[in-house]
Structures are given as C-alpha cells and as structure tokens.
C-alpha cells in the first residue's frame, strides 16, 4: 500500500490557515484523496469551463476527421481561395484544400506534440528531481547540470537543433515522423528544468517525514522506496507542472513552425497553417485568425486547468 499523505501536518505550522488544519466536520462515506481534489477542482469555475472547452477541442481534432471526411492534403485547384460555403464551411486555402479538415489535422499534430514533449520533459524532470532529492551524493552534480541548462538560451538553441538535424532525421525516419521526433525531443530536452527543481524540493521535504523513516526501518530497498512512497506523494506538483508544460510545448512548436522551421509544408500544424496564411493575411484574414484562435484557446484552457489543479491539489486551500 502507498502511504496516504497526512495533509493536516502540512498545515499545522501555518497559522494563516487554521480552518484547513481542523478535521472535516462530516466526512463523506468514502473520501479518497482524488475525490477531494476533484471536488475542489469543480469549485474553480474558470478551470471547469476550460476543462469542458479543452475536451471539446480534443474531440474536434480526434473525432472531427471521422465525421468531416475530406482529406486535408487533397488539392482542388479549381476551388481555391473560397469563402465560407456549404461544401467548405471555413473556406479553402490557396491550393483549394479544405480549411476545416486542415485545422483538425493540424490540431492533432499540435496537441500530439504538446503531450509528447510534455511527457518527455516531465519524465526527465522527475527522474533528475527524484534522484537529486533522494540520493544526497547526486544532488550537487545534478543541480549544477540543471543550472547549466537554465542558463542556455533556449529559443536560439531550439532553432539551431531543428535546422541542423532536420535533414538526417527525416531521411532516417521519414519526413513527417523524423521532424516530429526531432521537435518533440528538442522541446522535451530543453524544458525539464522547472519540473526537476520543484520535484527535488518536494522530495527533500518528504525525506524528513516519519513514514519514510518507518519504511526505511523495515528495510525497504531504494527503488521500492522511490516507486511506492516517494513518487505517489510528489504526484501533485508533477501533474501541475505537466499541465503547464503542455501549454509551453504547444506554443514552442507553433513558434518554430511560424519561423518556418517546423514541420514540412504539406504537413499541417496550427503554427504552420498560421505561417502559410500570413502571406495572404490582407486578402484572407480568416485563415490567420482560425489557427491563431485555436492555439490561443488551447493554451488558455490548459493554463486555466493547471491553475485549477494547483488550487485543488494545495491542501491549504482545499476545503475553503
């Protein structure tokens, strides 16, 4: 069994929130930690609206192409630059490709990049954070490395990595998948530092707690200690960092695409669609606005969800 985190001891020393430290008056029949988090999350109105919108966007890009069955790369040169018609609800681009289908396909790539890059960043960040926090010998060197990475100029380096390695990678793995791999790993490798610092801090605090001492006294080996006792208890900061990481990754990917250094032209992403539309923004402003609004809306939703999660996971606020 994992040790349930004793939330009250966290707040015991905090005089500003006596209400949270007192035991709940009438506990519901089976209150789990995640049930509590969900209850608190629901009371954050902005986060709930954002969650609904985000699910809507996910459905739009994942289920949408099953209903709207036009190939996003199908070129119909006679139907180019059309306005909003019944056949093409959001119009067509300069090659007659359907904008609605392209937005859905682009969204799939953008969100996939966001999720994968976040997963990589969180994996590296948690790994480094937990090892630095748990093993005292590794703490110094790993934190030096983190500081070094924090001092790197990230956007220039990302631009550099993507330009330099796009050719060899797209030859080995195919144009689309090679670039996907490159962008995802480049973003992941340059955005794990915040997560590592947060996780390390949490682990350092956890190590002083009684249940860790208890677990150690019965001879728990290090790997089980980390997997069973440490990781479940640092899950909440990791989840908040992960949510905010998705937003940053989506923005970074579209920025790269916007600078012409992202995916190849026939491979739509939201950033790429925006970049392609900029040349004709005077005549067809809607083509710029749709992908831009979708990027902003997704990032806004993710940020709000992260905000709500942070509040919901913070035991000092919960129950107020």
């Amino acid at each position: 069994m994992t040790e349930p985190v004793d939330r009250t001891t966290l707040t015991a020393g905090n005089a500003a929130t006596p209400a949270a430290a007192s035991p709940p008056v009438a506990p519901a029949p089976n209150r789990s930690q995640w049930g509590d988090v969900w209850r608190q999350f629901r009371s954050h109105r902005g986060a709930m609206v954002a969650l609904v919108l985000f699910v809507g966007i996910i459905l739009f890009v994942s289920v949408g192409p099953l209903i709207w069955r036009i190939d996003p790369t199908y070129v119909d040169i006679r139907a180019r630059n059309q306005g909003f018609t019944l056949a093409h609800p959001l119009g067509t681009d300069q090659l007659g490709r359907d904008m609605l289908a392209r937005l859905m396909a682009g969204g799939q790539v953008s969100i996939a990049v966001g999720l994968t890059a976040m997963a990589i960043a969180i994996f590296i960040g948690s790994l480094i954070g937990v090892s630095a926090g748990y093993f005292r010998r590794l703490d110094g060197p790993l934190m030096r490395v983190t500081e070094l990475f924090l001092a790197l100029p990230l956007l220039p380096l990302l631009l550099l990595m993507v330009t330099l390695f796009r050719e060899p990678l797209s030859q080995t793995f195919g144009a689309a998948f090679g670039i996907f791999l490159l962008i995802v790993s480049a973003i992941g490798a340059t955005s794990w530092m915040q997560a590592a610092r947060i996780v390390r801090g949490e682990v350092l605090g956890l190590k002083e707690r009684e249940f860790i001492l208890a677990a150690r006294s019965i001879g728990t080996p290090s790997h089980r200690m980390i997997l069973r006792h440490i990781l479940p208890n640092v899950l909440s900061p990791i989840m908040v960092a992960a949510t905010l990481g998705i937003a940053t990754a989506i923005i970074t990917e579209s920025a790269l695409s916007f600078l012409g250094l992202g995916f190849p032209p026939d491979f739509p992403t939201w950033g790429r669609l925006l970049y392609d539309a900029v040349d004709q923004m005077v005549l067809y402003p809607s083509r710029v606005v749709f992908p831009g609004v979708l990027i902003s809306l997704t990032v806004l939703c993710v940020n709000y969800i992260g905000d709500g999660l942070r509040d919901a996971m913070d035991p000092r606020i919960r129950g107020r």
Partner: protein
C-alpha cells in the same frame, strides 16, 4: 555581499565556457556545410583552399580555442583600440561572418539599436502597465477589476506573440491603416515628422511585446501584494492610524516590489529571445532576425557568437537578480 558576488562571478566562468562548448559542438555535429552552395564545377583543390580560408581545415578543438581567443581577447582589444586610438590588435584576426565577410561584432553593433529600442521600450511599457494593475487587483481581491485583470493576463500570456502581432497588423495596419506594418530601420529621426513616423512604426511591435510582459509581471505583482497584505505589519500600520494610501503605497508596495524586481531582471534576457519572433512578424532587422538568417545561411561564427551573447545575458541577469534580492531584502543572507 561582495564575497558572494565575486564567488558567483568566478562560478559563471566555467558555466559560460561549458555553454559555449555545447553550442560549438552542436554546430560541429551538424551535417550542414558552409560550402554547400558553392557550385559543383569548382575543382576539389580550390574547394579545399576555400575551406582553409574559412578556417575550417583545423580540428575542432583548435578552432574552438581560437574562437575563444577571438571572443575574449581580440574583440575587446579591438574595441579598446577603437576608443583610445591605440594599435594593440593590429594584425589579429577578428571573428568574421561567413555570409557577409565582415566582422561579426560590427554587424551585431549595427543591429543592437533596433532591438534595444523596440524590446527595451516594450519592457518598460509592460512594467509600467503591470505594476498598477497588480496593485489594484490585489488590493481589491475578487472584485470585478481583479477578475477581469486576471482573465486578461491569462489571455495575455496564452496568446503567442506571433498571433497577436498578426492580428494587430490586420486590424490597425491593413483595415484601419493607422500604423505601418513593416518596421523601417532606415528611418532617421531628424525632425518632428520623422520622430512621429518612428513612434507610429514602433507602436505595434511594442504593444505586442508589452502586452505579453505585462501579463506575466502583473500576476507576480498581484500574488506578491497578496502575500504582504496579509502580514501583521499591515495591521499594525492601520492600527497606528496611517491612511490607507500610505499603508498600501508605502509599506506594502515597497515590500512586495522586492520579488517583482528580481523577476523583472530575470525576464530581461528571455525578452531578447522572445523578441526573435516579434522581430520576424514586424520585419524589424534586429538581433533575432540576424540570428535566423545566420542559421539559414550556415553562418557558423555568427550563430555561435550571437547564441553565446544570449547565454551571457542570461547568466549576467541571473546574477544581477540574485544580488538585487540580497540588496533589497536585508533578511536574505548568502554567506
């Protein structure tokens, strides 16, 4: 404090050396060839001579050390000569751009003013907007002003600058024709008219960057004010009978500015990085645009030098932020 500063400065040296090595090796590992555009009809021996002329014949560590020498020794000497009219750097090779065949630092010096006027201005405007908004929305927490302010700042940092920039161009540059959409760097401010033209072309890029900065700083300001408003000394100040104005603007504001000042210092180098995109949108030929053309053109010395300058900015401003924090907050002791 002095001890701490010296120690940190000494620590910064290996950090910077390591970063420069990382950038250098990254460029070294790249398959791109600066001679890639040379026609295939050029015979191989001529091609080899061209490589040697670009300094590409040596092994990488020789070139790395040579670049370090040029960056840290030749360039400062050259600068010294320029100022005092001496001749220490005569005959020494400066860092030369592959693309333009002129000294990298001369090109950078031409581009810095554009970046500084746009980026610097936008940062100042952003701070000036953010601080009052942060104060007010913390003081009236959960009021409609606070709700709207929080929402707008959320939108502000969720909208990527390339989208806000393009939208502003469509609305104010194309439809209303108020401001020019392309930044004209050849414009020289001589009289009132050219000054107004300069102001008008700066409005949109500055707005875009200022909005983004203001969104982040105002959130910091708000949470910092909230932390301080709940402190005991605020109650004491009110109990003494001080006016609300003095309590908020003198006691609380001064204390809550401490973390905000460090955040502002920490954010400065990232603004240079973020300006890469804004410069691209408004066609400002500043440092960011220089970096992108250099990357596209395989101009290794230019990319290396520029990226390294960005790294120096980050390290220096992190140090400044730490020192400022220690100076402003006497409770912080680094020793």
């Amino acid at each position: 404090m002095l001890n701490f500063t010296i120690r940190r400065l000494l620590l910064a040296i290996p950090t910077l050396l390591f970063i420069s090595l990382v950038i250098f090796l990254l460029l070294e590992a790249s398959p791109g060839d600066p001679l890639g555009d040379v026609p295939l009809t050029v015979p191989p021996e001529v091609r080899d001579r061209m490589r040697a002329a670009l300094g590409l014949g040596e092994p990488w560590f020789v070139r790395y050390v040579l670049w370090l020498k040029q960056f840290f020794w030749v360039e400062p000497l050259h600068w010294f000569d320029q100022v005092f009219g001496t001749g220490f750097s005569d005959g020494m090779q400066r860092i030369i751009s592959f693309q333009s065949r002129s000294a990298v630092f001369d090109v950078i010096a031409q581009r810095v003013p554009q970046t500084l006027t746009v980026v610097g201005m936008s940062y100042v405007v952003g701070i000036l907007i953010a601080i009052p908004i942060g104060i007010l929305s913390a003081y009236k927490q959960y009021s409609w002003f606070d709700q709207i302010g929080t929402f707008v700042s959320m939108i502000g940092f969720s909208m990527p600058t390339f989208f806000t920039g393009v939208v502003l161009i469509i609305i104010f540059g194309v439809n209303l024709q108020w401001f020019p959409s392309v930044y004209d760097t050849t414009l020289q401010v001589r009289d009132w008219d050219s000054f107004m033209a300069q102001v008008r072309q700066m409005v949109m890029p500055v707005t875009v960057l200022a909005l983004y900065n203001a969104a982040q700083i105002s959130r910091f300001m708000r949470s910092s004010m909230l932390d301080n408003l709940g402190q005991d000394y605020v109650r004491t100040a009110r109990a003494k009978g001080l006016s609300e104005r003095v309590v908020v603007l003198k006691h609380v504001l001064r204390n809550s500015l401490i973390p905000v000042v460090t955040v502002i210092a920490l954010g400065l180098p990232t603004v240079f990085g973020g300006a890469i995109i804004t410069e691209q949108v408004f066609k400002v030929n500043g440092l960011g645009q220089l970096l992108i053309t250099a990357i596209h053109g395989n101009d290794i010395p230019m990319v290396l030098t520029l990226t390294f300058i960005f790294a120096i900015l980050i390290v220096v401003f992190t140090l400044i932020a730490d020192i400022l924090y220690g100076v402003l907050d006497p409770r912080i002791r680094y020793d």
